[in-house]
């Protein structure tokens, strides 16, 4: 089955796993691959991975500290359970409402910084 250069999208036969995993690499330009396999390219890639991992760990760590901090705080100061706003106790407000803006805030922060790291990497590779 040889595909024509134009016309309707050709039928793609999804094949057994071993070949399928390899075939997807074709979309990766050779020049770029070469750049990344060079010694300098390797360094760029490694520093990108390190900065992305650091970013993810910092955001996750900050979030987890706040999250786990809530039950610890409630266990240490049980009096907080008695405080209410419009009859709703503080723990219910924190856990039922307060956490969600925090989750979304962390996510937005991460997506911005991760994209910035990638743009930085792309500038380096393209200049090279």
């Amino acid at each position: 089955m040889i595909p024509g250069p134009s016309g309707p999208p050709r039928r793609i036969r999804v094949t057994a796993p071993r070949t399928a995993a390899r075939a997807t690499g074709a979309s990766f330009p050779v020049a770029r691959e070469m750049a990344e396999q060079s010694e300098v390219g390797q360094l760029f890639v490694e520093s990108l991975i390190r900065s992305q991992l650091r970013l993810a760990l910092v955001v996750a760590g900050g979030f987890l500290v706040i999250l786990i901090g809530i039950p610890v705080l409630l266990a240490v100061f049980p009096d907080i359970n008695g405080v209410t706003i419009l009859t709703v106790p503080i723990p219910w407000l924190l856990l039922g409402l307060g956490i969600y803006p925090l989750v979304i805030g962390c996510a937005v922060l991460y997506v911005r910084s991760a994209s910035r790291n990638e743009r930085h990497f792309q500038d380096l590779v393209d200049d090279d």
Binding site: P9, R11, I12, R13, V14, T15, A16, P17, R18, A20, A21, T24, G25, F28, P29, R32, E36, Q37, Q42, V45, L48, I49, Q52, L53, A56, V59, A60, F63, L64, L67, I68, P71, V72, A75, T84, T87, V88, P89, P91, W92, L95, G96, L97, I99, Y100, P101, V103, I104, C106, A107, Y110, V111, A114, S115, E118, R119, F121, Q122, V125, D126
Partner: protein
């Protein structure tokens, strides 16, 4: 708990139930058929040709993810355990934050379709692929069973039909839509079902709050909604809470039906955007089951003692409104519940069928269809033979299991070039044996009273680190088996697509 549903007080009028169920089933099949007409290639069939837009994709992920545990279970658990239950929706949502941070973009860039594909491409080993496939199939089956239990409960309450009708109906509709349409049409169906589920909870709550306000009835009964002593479960210990949160946070990123959705994004950046939208959609959704749970603590407290707390969402509108309004609102929540079972089950069946068909049927479309049937029928048999536990709880154990098996494989595979095939297998097996063992023992001897057995009931806090440590230690010991392609694969996972 079965008997509670056969007395009249706990039943809605059957006509309401039938109408809701038939409408959801029909619209699902119709959207599936519409999707089929634009589903032309095998690529469409498996991954919707990777061209689904972030908003569609995010709605579809939300639709697929919000299962019986979210729609019925969260409110039920709030009814019986109060504030402790709020950790479930937090964990279900924040799991996507972890997925965004560690997995979303790299996994999309790996170009693999299933988790076993990823494992094989990363570690260059067929055995790793086999082990991962088996774990994925076990996770999928364990996750479908509670969905079918939820369907049994809903159909019983809303129509009075025997319990086996619900699971059977779900499996038939799922098989019809999956077998005909594949991934492309399923994307439309799932996206529709997120918005259906949201509407089905939001509209009745708006009516209920308005009515209570208009009648001058205090909504939280002066705060007694929060302090009322309905709890049938032991108060959660600090250990139990943290262990549950770990399970939910790290379990989400190993769920097969969640991950398969990320391959339908065009590139890594859009995978991130999609996840961000999902977080917003989930945050909005979970406000509503919480409100149902709180209202239930005043208006349907007897459900706690009867052990049928999971029915709170279904019965609450009928308690506040009589006649026509009550019927319409009840029909709406019933439709939403049914959509929840359908969408999660079909998402799981699609992803399991992907794994099973590549493993045993050479990945053809015919093989995919046969695999889909197989993936749906086995949990059906299990569901019919077992009895339902609290929905949110039984889904929680599945999260602990994925967090102890597939999560370490993904995290270390994506971020650590030292991972070897031997290390991956040892870690996954250690996690599977320990966590699976703890869940099985708990199921056999029943949940412990108080703190003495909480370490068995909520095993994630020790099984997840054990799996990680085993994976690292064995990988270090077998460093010679590190695949030669590790650096290249890692570079591919983390470098952005060319502009």
């Amino acid at each position: 708990m079965t008997d509670a549903f056969h007395n009249g007080a706990l039943q809605l009028s059957p006509a309401v139930g039938y109408t809701a169920l038939v409408l959801v089933a029909l619209s699902t099949v119709l959207i599936g058929i519409y999707g089929l007409r634009i589903s032309r290639t095998t690529g469409d069939f498996y991954v919707a040709s990777r061209t689904v837009r972030p908003w569609w994709n995010a709605s579809a992920i939300g639709g697929e993810y919000l299962s019986a545990a979210s729609f019925l279970g969260v409110a039920g658990l709030i009814l019986i355990s109060g504030v402790d239950a709020l950790w479930f929706p937090i964990g279900y949502t924040a799991g996507y934050l972890m997925l965004l941070l560690f997995v979303a973009a790299p996994l999309r860039r790996s170009g693999a379709y299933t988790i076993p594909d990823f494992a094989q491409a990363r570690l260059d080993s067929l055995l790793v692929r086999r082990v991962t496939s088996m774990l994925v199939v076990v996770v999928g089956w364990l996750y479908i069973v509670p969905q079918l239990h939820g369907a049994a409960l809903t159909v019983r309450i809303t129509t009075g039909l025997p319990s086996w009708v619900g699971p059977l109906a779900v499996v038939v509709v799922v098989c019809l839509s999956v077998v005909t349409g594949g991934m492309r049409s399923i994307t439309f169906v799932q996206a529709f079902q997120y918005w259906l589920k949201l509407t089905a909870l939001a509209v009745p709550v708006a009516f209920i709050l308005f009515r209570l306000g208009a009648d001058g009835r205090p909504i939280t009964a002066g705060g007694s909604a929060f302090t009322a002593d309905l709890n049938t479960t032991a108060e959660a210990s600090l250990y139990g809470t943290i262990s549950l949160v770990i399970a939910l946070l790290f379990g989400t990123l190993g769920l097969p039906h969640v991950l398969v959705r990320f391959y339908t994004n065009p590139d890594g950046a859009s995978a991130r955007r999609t996840t961000l939208i999902v977080l917003g959609l989930l945050s909005v959704f979970y406000l509503f089951p919480t409100v149902y749970g709180i209202l239930g603590r005043i208006h349907t407290p007897e459900l706690a003692a009867e052990g049928s707390a999971d029915a709170t969402v279904l019965l609450l509108p009928g308690r506040i409104f009589d006649g026509m309004t009550g019927d319409v609102l009840s029909a709406l929540v019933t439709a939403g519940a049914f959509a929840a079972f359908l969408s999660t089950t079909s998402g799981l069946v699609v992803s399991l069928a992907g794994v099973v068909s590549q493993e045993f049927f050479q990945g053809s479309v015919a093989g995919f269809r046969r695999a889909a049937l197989l993936s749906a029928l086995i949990p059906l048999v299990i569901a019919l033979l077992t009895d339902s536990l609290a929905l949110a709880g039984s889904v929680g154990s599945v999260f602990a299991f994925t967090a102890s098996t597939i999560c370490p494989l993904l995290l270390l595979g994506i971020w650590w070039r030292g991972l070897t095939d031997a290390g991956a297998i040892a870690g996954m097996l250690a996690g599977a044996v320990l966590c699976g063992g703890a869940i099985a023992v708990t199921a056999l001897i029943g949940p412990g009273t108080g703190d003495d057995r909480v370490w068995l009931g909520q095993p994630a806090l020790w099984t997840v680190p054990t799996a990680f440590i085993t994976m690292v230690v064995v990988s270090r010991a077998t460093a010679g088996r590190k695949p030669a392609s590790a650096s290249r694969v890692l570079a591919r996972l983390h470098t952005p697509e060319p502009r």
